[in-house]
Amino acid sequence: MHVIENGNVAAALGVKLCRAGVIAAYPITPQTPVTEKLSEYVESGELQAQYIPVESEHSALAVCIAASSAGARVFTATSANGLLYKHEQVQWAAGARLPIVMAVVNRAVGAPWNVWNDQQDSISQRDTGWIQIYCADHQQILDSVIKAYWLAEKASLPIMVCYDGYILSHTYMPFDLPEQEKVDAFLPPYRPDYALDPDQPANLNTVTLPDVRMDVRGELAHGYMEIRCLLHEDMRKFLQTVAEAEERFSRIFGRSENPYLEPYRCDDADHIAVGLGSITYQLRVCVDALRSEGVKVGVMGVRLYRPFPDRAIAEALKGKKRVMVFEKALSYGYEGALYSDLKSALYEHLAGTGSLPAVQNFIAGIGGRDIRTQELTDALRFAAQGHTAPEPVWIGLKL
């Protein structure tokens, strides 16, 4: 069924279709409508779930951690400083290997206080052991939530579904709402290996020594380092799991996409623009304009940021002349995090092959600064002409 709704409702519909059993969230702009919509579904009985109001984002994730440990399918959502406030529990959820799905409605972080869109919030959580999926339209938001539950439960890893505040969260777009039966066929009920059980008491995630130890059954159990190494290994294996999910999704829903990258006019392109989220769709307009000028340029959205699909990215960019990375976040004191990661992937897979593209970083839309398509096109044209700058170039800056 086709519906016209905003991005936050697309996320809430996905959660409802996935039959989440426990929802806990604290309102923060621009995420608030997701949780409002879910509380309506719970209140009306459309969604059989416990909606737990909490006094903070930290508690919201703590509730999800507890409920997930007890075997429930859980959901939370947040933005900006709310996500930062959750940070300690964000790390915890990953180490505890809980399949929590969290929508991050991207917004700039304070100080100074700012409620508009950029991606500094989720990018700052890059190294927490969570999967990060970025969406560029409402269909992707809905589909990503559905896929995220299957993936999280398959891999025992928590997942952030990230989408740009306002640009996606508050704008209306048509999208296909799948039938409940299809979602049920795709996503079986959550059956964890172990769920909190008074008949099988256990301490979860207590002090774990630097070295391995014998457990009460006399088996050699992990130390902290083994548990953390397994987290990393399973994050890397997720690159295969995500392909498996895509195959399963396309079989049931009849549509599929590349789970790592979303290329547009890249095949014959000399230059590729790269980004995360809605900016990549805006860049399509720039690409079309430049193509009409004869500049062979394409744009590639990165859908999965953690684990980083390094090989797929290097493969897609191999032999291109230039790569321009447009980011709404940066690692202060160096450059955009995606740019660093992308260069690392190119070095790893293409160094010495003679097919390393030149690279340039652009920073745009920080704190909701308007990203004008003309400015974006000019930046792309400038870089395609071979102009480079040693530092990231800020688009639309008025200093």
């Binding site: 180490g95 505890a96 025992s156 008491p201 002090v207 020594l209 009460v216």
Partner: protein, 102 residues
Amino acid sequence: MGTRNYRRKTSHSEPGAGDGGRTGSWRVERPVLNPELCIPCKRNKEACFICWLFCPEVVISRTIPPQIDLTYCKGCGICAEECPTKAITMMDEALFSAKAKE
């Protein structure tokens, strides 16, 4: 030999001795019991057991004489502090390792 095939990927401990690891290795001082001062030992009766009651690691047995499980005793000294007859003395762990070497 590693933990690659261990049945879980998290820290998951079940009730039982030592699931927090061999914490006896943390000990700097060792509790040593003098049966000539210990009430249950002197009377040969189940009595006192203040040490058993206070031990936060549950490593002292309710027996005559009370046994201290040095595999898990962290050497906190609470038993020595609480013993009403001063029957338990905390001694430098190095004395025992030096003896072992001799």
